[in-house]
């Protein structure tokens, strides 16, 4: 069966520090991969999605970036974090994009 792993679960980082969140999927190949952010009391905002290795689409211009170095690995990065980057980050995958997404357990990022 397919599983999705996301880590770390929680992270506290100072302003201006770099960021790297990792997400991996097992039990499938060539999945669609997604990064969402959920700010406190708000809905989910799609940040990036990828339909294949090296293919990244950005939904919202900001100081975050994403990479897909391997088929089932999706990384969210920042060179310098801002206070406004605090939030709950969720990785998700799907087979086709039309069949519903499976979400990871999320990373709570607090920028201080």
């Amino acid at each position: 069966s397919q599983t999705i792993h996301q880590w770390p679960a929680t992270l506290v980082q100072p302003v201006g520090s770099p960021l790297s969140l990792e997400c991996t999927v097992e039990g499938t190949s060539n999945p669609n991969l997604y990064w969402y952010r959920q700010a406190a009391g708000r809905g989910l905002q799609l940040l990036f999605y990828s339909v294949g290795i090296g293919q990244i689409s950005s939904e919202v211009p900001q100081n975050l970036s994403a990479s897909r170095p391997q088929d089932r690995q999706f990384i969210l990065s920042s060179k310098k974090l801002l206070l406004s980057d605090s939030g709950f980050y969720l990785c998700a995958w799907s087979e086709t994009g039309l069949d519903g997404y499976t979400f990871g357990s999320g990373t709570r990022l607090t920028v201080v």
Binding site: L90, G97, L98, G100, G106
Partner: protein, 111 residues
Amino acid sequence: AQSVTQPDIHITVSEGASLELRCNYSYGATPYLFWYVQSPGQGLQLLLKYFSGDTLVQGIKGFEAEFKRSQSSFNLRKPSVHWSDAAEYFCAVVVRDDMRFGAGTRLTVKP
């Protein structure tokens, strides 16, 4: 503009009472529709989905949802709420291969 709307930010119901969470969408075509539930500090779990066919779909945990094309709605229902149903609920649509979410409805269950 294309959107997903959950009109109720917060709903409180008594345990054992019925529940209906509203969701409206505005897209040109019939999208694929989903309901997810999120417990505090957790990821999202799929409750049910609608692609086509029977407009009343059954999901996990005793939830169901009804698609009404004329009203552009996909409301989530449960006949009898349990205390463990307290969570955040998100309606979502997939259009052109990416999923868009409503702002969510937080459900509080009173004993």
